[in-house]
């Protein structure tokens, strides 16, 4: 073969390519009333029971409906359910579904679908597991009625079915819900107000949802996950933008309509644009945190943990996360979300007032700390954990601790924090994270506050007093009892330093002014949102 042969071959290949390139463009459906939304993260999977990331929950709330939904007052309200009855002893719950409910494939929503969905959800949800532990029977009575028979009362039943913490009790067709809860579904037929367009899903880049014409919204006004989920747009496109600067530019340029969580650094630019509205996105915000490993020295001694708490300045942490915008943070001398009914500062004195470094050093010395390395895991790919990690390293050094600063990525932290081996053998002493405020409104979804030793969240705190008050909250019969239990819980958890709260912070959301109906909430709600040209 020589040059001429190759040239002939290339000419042929070029002709072929040209034919392909000049093929007529496929006609695209008119993109009327399409809302382009930049979500907080990539929708990498779409099974809200198997994968519990918030972004999956947020997308799932469009596609699957729930039996109940929490409203803006954090109260459970009926959603797919028409009525419910409780037996006098509180052990039998009987529910009736609304009529006319349909799945996206046109099939009616029946009790058998609900039973299968609740069974799958309960196997993965902390509250669901509590129900399963006392369950006698979950069964369909007829097409629209089902009952849950328990061995003992569970007063928080409606909250469990309504809560917005992941995983939510989404209702799926029985054939899908029968999937092993530890295996991912691949059929996304939903019961909610929008359909998931699987054919247009490009994980990591784009997800598309279209209005479901046969969805029957409730008559009440929408309020978070409750009320009439009226969809006023035909199509929602989620466009993933890994770079915040790109998302900001796209919003300014009108290429997207709504950006869920602009970073604080870019907010001034957006606020200066007359076509853009900026406001707090989720009033429940976030609770910053670092966790100490209670299994190994030095933090197996409560004095060492308290010494750190005495020295830490929440303002330092919050300013590292949100910058100079005072509207975005507040101190948190406790564990529960501010401005919610159960918020408490009981026992919070240790986090208030001027920081006493000398007293903290003295207490640390009393704990027996003698300069051993403190392995501090800091995920550098998460701005919030990186900011907190830098502040902690400085704090520990001021206390005279020998910091082994492990700069790594979140994937590695996620894996390493599960290790119960000593810090020098693959384990750890501290890691940083944060919790959605929605998860910190009461003890039910608040895994991080649990202190039941080996079964507790990473760090494995063991605080019988804390656990006692968690149980007291579950047994509480009214709000006053709940408040009292949570107050005591807050104090016990601070006394034993279940974990270190680094403050409460909020984030903004931003949208073009031709979009209206955006409400503040723990997730982006698309019902009631409309857009003009």
């Amino acid at each position: 073969m020589d040059r001429r042969t190759v040239l002939k071959g290339l000419a042929g290949a070029g002709g072929l390519a040209l034919t392909g390139l000049s093929a007529p463009a496929i006609a695209q459906g008119a993109a009327a009333r399409t809302l382009r939304f930049v979500p907080q993260a990539n929708l990498a999977n779409f099974d809200p029971i198997w994968g519990t990331q918030y972004v999956v929950r947020n997308a799932a709330a469009l596609v699957w409906d729930t039996l109940y939904g929490v409203d803006a007052k954090l109260q459970p309200q009926r959603q797919m359910v028409e009525s419910e009855e409780t037996s006098d002893d509180g052990k039998i719950w009987t529910f009736k579904l609304r009529s006319g409910l349909k799945f996206h494939d046109g099939e009616p929503v029946l009790s058998k679908d609900v039973v299968a969905s609740l069974s799958r959800w309960a196997a993965r949800d902390p509250m669901g597991l509590m129900i399963l532990a006392i369950q006698q029977e979950l069964s369909a009575v007829d097409d629209r009625t089902f009952k849950w028979v328990l061995k003992q009362p569970f007063p928080k039943m409606l909250y469990a079915l309504a809560k917005n913490n992941s995983p939510c009790a989404f209702i799926m067709p029985e054939r899908i819900a029968k999937t092993d809860p530890f295996k991912q579904i691949s059929d996304y037929v939903g019961s909610g107000p929008m359909k998931f367009v699987k054919s247009e899903w490009v994980p990591g880049a784009k997800s598309v949802f279209e209005k479901f014409a046969d969805y029957v919204p409730r008559q009440e006004k929408a309020s978070w996950l409750a009320g009439g989920k009226q969809i006023l747009i035909d199509r929602v496109e989620w466009l993933v933008m890994p770079d915040p600067a790109t998302a900001a530019a796209a919003l300014q340029n009108g290429e997207v309509d709504w950006w869920e969580n602009p970073i604080a650094d870019l907010v001034p630019v957006l606020k200066n644009n007359k076509n853009i509205s900026v406001d707090i996105g989720d009033p429940l915000g976030n609770v910053g945190s670092f966790r100490m490993n209670h299994l190994f020295a030095p933090f197996n001694d409560v004095r060492a943990r308290r010494a750190v708490l005495m020295a830490l300045s929440q303002e330092d942490y919050m300013r590292a996360i949100v910058g100079d915008d005072d509207a975005l943070w507040k101190p948190l001398p406790g564990f529960f979300t501010p401005d919610t009914p159960l918020y408490s500062e009981m026992g919070g004195e240790i986090l208030k007032g001027k920081r006493d470094l000398d007293a903290a050093k003295k207490l640390l010395a009393e704990s027996g700390y003698s300069g051993q390395p403190v392995t501090c895991l800091v995920a550098q790919d998460q701005p919030i954990t990186k900011a907190q990690g830098d502040v902690t390293a400085d704090l520990l050094k001021k206390l005279g601790m020998n910091v082994d600063f492990v700069a790594t990525d979140w994937g590695t932290v996620g894996s390493r924090r599960a290790q119960k081996t000593p810090p020098g053998q693959g384990g750890w002493n501290m890691f940083h994270t944060w919790h959605a405020g929605a998860d910190c409104i009461n003890p039910a979804p608040y895994t991080a506050i649990r202190a039941n030793g080996d079964k507790a969240w990473f760090g494995w705190p063991n605080s019988p007093n804390t656990e006692k008050e968690v149980t007291a909250w579950f047994d509480a019969k009214n709000l006053d009892e709940e408040k009292a239990a949570v107050g005591r819980l807050n104090k016990a958890a601070l006394d034993d330093v279940v974990y270190a709260p680094t403050g409460f912070f909020l984030t903004y959301t931003a949208w073009r002014k031709n979009v209206s109906g955006i409400t503040k909430g723990p997730l982006p709600f698309f019902w009631g949102v409309s857009k003009t040209a």
Binding site: M1, D2, R3, V6, L7, L21, A23, A25, I26, Q28, N42, A44, N45, D47, W50, G51, T52, Q53, R124, N165, S166, D180, F182, K183, Q184, I185, S186, V202, P203, G204, A205, K206, L239, M241, P242, D243, A245, T246, A247, A249, A250, Q252, N253, E255, D381, T408, D409, W410, G411, T412, G414, S415, R416, A418, T433, H435, T447, A448, K455, W457
Partner: protein, 313 residues
């Protein structure tokens, strides 16, 4: 030559096998656990373990590797741990944007860098030469993302000529396709243009001192004919080599460029897969990239025959 190409393709098989073993081993020993990411923060260790089992990640290394190789031999790259979609589907979704970006960048580079290099050599030592070489240094020095942000700011936000982000398939029209690629291609092409321009200049300088160039001038040939027909053709072998090797640069640069311009290409897929520890996707992409590298090298060898008739296989 056909037999040469076939021999080279067959020779890629052991290379691919070594790459496969290397990548699989590296991922196996790397820290991180996709089951932890999937299970989420609320999950108990038991939940994480059950997910790990359902994904087959608890099996011994050799069994996992054997089963992966067996699937590869049957043309199956596996299924993404996270999306539950076939890896081949995910790569297929992302191939178009990345290939488009690379094609446009390559075209832009050749169209801009080669003439610049030729002119610089022709005007060696002059102000034009210094200006071009100064531009080349500038192109080398600026990171892709800085160029990207500057371009987006000027041409998208200020002038509103081009979009900031995204990708439109070619099937929806040539201009919609191209308008999304112009800024990313310039950003990505900067380093590449600088590199090719410098190499072209160096190669041309050598050729321009040859006797046959002096003869061509003596024959009264025009400057354009001398430069682009006689000189460039003979300087082409090193230029082609650098353009080919530069494709590796493009793949690396595409990762950043695709993030800055939100182009749903293979670069972003790679980063996402690594951060989530989506092993089947990482393995599939690395295999694809290694195959592309081998193919590019082969194409460079074949291209030599186009520019230099003395080379035969």
């Amino acid at each position: 030559m056909l037999s040469y190409i076939l021999r080279r393709i067959v020779a890629t098989l052991p290379v691919m096998a070594i790459v496969a073993l290397f990548v699989f081993s590296l991922l196996y020993i790397a820290p991180g656990d996709p089951a932890v990411v999937i299970a989420g923060d609320q999950a108990s260790p038991e939940d994480v373990e059950r997910i790990r089992q359902s994904l087959g990640l608890d099996r011994p290394f050799l069994i996992q590797f054997g089963s992966w190789v067996w699937r590869i031999l049957h043309g199956d790259l596996g299924t993404s741990i996270f999306t539950n979609l076939p890896v081949s589907t995910m790569i297929g979704q992302r191939l178009g944007p990345t290939l488009s970006l690379m094609m446009v960048t390559l075209l832009l580079t050749i169209v801009v860098a080669v003439p610049l290099g030729v002119v610089a050599a022709w005007k060696a030592g002059s102000l034009i030469d210094r200006a071009i070489m100064g531009f080349a240094v500038f192109g080398f020095s600026l990171p892709v993302f800085v160029v990207g942000y500057m371009l987006a700011y000027i041409f998208a936000l200020e002038l509103e000529w081009l979009p900031v982000q995204g990708y439109t398939p070619l099937s929806q029209g040539v201009w919609p396709w191209l308008e999304n690629l112009i800024l990313p291609a310039i950003a990505l092409g900067c380093v590449y243009i600088a590199l090719v321009a410098r190499i072209t200049r160096a190669a041309m300088l050598e050729v321009l001192q040859q006797d046959y160039i002096r003869t061509a001038r003596a024959k009264g040939l025009g400057q354009g004919g001398i430069l682009f027909v006689h000189a460039l053709k003979n300087a082409a072998v090193p230029i082609v080599t650098v353009i080919g090797i530069g494709i590796a640069l493009l793949i690396g640069g595409a990762v950043v460029t695709e993030s800055v311009f939100a182009i749903p290409g293979l670069g972003r897929l790679t980063i996402d897969a690594i951060l989530r520890r989506d092993y089947p996707v990482i393995q599939g992409i690395v295999l694809l990239f290694s195959f592309v590298y081998v193919l590019v090298n082969l194409m460079i060898d074949v291209t030599y025959t186009l520019v230099d008739p003395r080379i035969r296989y």
